[in-house]
Symmetry: C2
Subunit: 307 residues, 2 copies
Amino acid sequence: MHSSASMCQTAADTASHDVPEAERLMADVIESGDDADTQATSVAKIAALYHLNAGGQRIRSRLALDSAHCLGLTTRDGIALAATAELLHNASLIHDDPQDRDQVRRGSPTVWVAYGDEVAICAGDLLLSAAYATVACVSCTDMLPSLVKLVHSRITQAIGGQCAEFSPAPVHLFNTDVYLKIATAKSGALLGLPVELALLAGGYRGALQTTRATADSFAAGYQIYDDLCDFEIDLARDTAAPVLNIVLVLKKNNGLSIRDAWESAQKLCLMHLEAAASSTDLPRQSGRLFREMANELHARLKDKCIQ
Amino acid sequence: MHSSASMCQTAADTASHDVPEAERLMADVIESGDDADTQATSVAKIAALYHLNAGGQRIRSRLALDSAHCLGLTTRDGIALAATAELLHNASLIHDDPQDRDQVRRGSPTVWVAYGDEVAICAGDLLLSAAYATVACVSCTDMLPSLVKLVHSRITQAIGGQCAEFSPAPVHLFNTDVYLKIATAKSGALLGLPVELALLAGGYRGALQTTRATADSFAAGYQIYDDLCDFEIDLARDTAAPVLNIVLVLKKNNGLSIRDAWESAQKLCLMHLEAAASSTDLPRQSGRLFREMANELHARLKDKCIQ
């Protein structure tokens, strides 16, 4: 699965002016930890920075910053958690791309294309490790063990989703239920994490379950939206490797025409985005950016037709 | 680089009876963090456990346990740090093997051979993440930020060493100095880490530099010892992909015969092991297992001849 749905800055995105600070922390942590006399690190480091500098929407960074802001965390803590969530997402992209043989991301050659598979593995490892180094920058050190364990838990789930996608099961076994399970494991785990981290750091452990449910609905909607944008590209790839696109899943499993499958996927997407937008309130409106993002995608998709 | 030099249990290895406890913690942390309804994780998890169950000497686990014991840390903390160091080492093996196209490890097919490159990436990620989850189990939570940052620093250095090994530089540029830099970055960083973690947890930050120097000497000796055992295999592979074996490096760079290169490497190995064994004392003898291991390898190699 890949991601091409762009999310504009929304009204609630008040803390997004701190995104550049989170970027700086990410770069600092990637730069640090190196021996001055070991030039060796530079290839993985250069590749990691190449990937980060290619852009991206920083949705997870913005989610962490806004939630942290709502919950009254310090700016520094919000930045640390934003960097953690964003680094993990980017580590997963660098490692997923060679697995899926995706060649272009954010308009540039993917890391494995530009630097080779070996460097891509090392660059992804570097970002995964850096994510833990940034979470260790929070001021509430008494919460650090819980934060680290939450990060590990969500990484485990995201890995599960990724593994399921290239499992040896024949593609016709991928029905809508399996698709949604993979989407929520793979995307929901890391989309919910920034908000969960802010809640946990703020002492709102009880709200994690609701957050995860909202993140799963949003992730399902987001992933389907993405598939709707990409189905023509994925259709062209269909003969080579199995591609997990909900339009193709619905077409194959329900014997639908392309048009009917597309419209069926559209309905499913709107339903999940509505669920995300109408989910239970999180403490101190810390889930408001999720809601706004869900509403924005919903508005964009509602009147869209198959092209 | 690979590792086949086996280390027997030494007299100082008093805490090694806790190795199975560290193994249990490793397995627990790999098992945890999973959604009950996501079967998906199982492939990466199964592959990670397959790798761990194939054996290994658990040198890093034993080093952490013995140092922690010497420094008076709690057994629980020693176990947490042992699991961290051992998980990191195994994560690096799982990710290095497909990079080096090594097919067999510990007598079993490597993870990428048994499960595919994609699963190997995910399984290595899982162990890398699990390493941070285990360090978060230490009781001294005030030290956790420093411990996490130390782990990240050593991972960065190990990645640097690994990257240098498959850098596009022609193999004839790998002289002895470059070889030693790679060996110490790649192996020294993760061999010193268990002792460094114990020292840092015990409040002996000032001893980290000496530890790292000892670890580097030991790593250089250990790696050369390994190369001496493997040079015939590596010689056979020499025509296909460049292999970084000190015997071949000395042969090519110094225009030596195989026998002379082997004996030259043997001398170099003994020199580094002697440096490791005679290094400055670490607090409360926390480096004694390093010293014993260095002495053991030294004794084994001293009278060895090229086969």
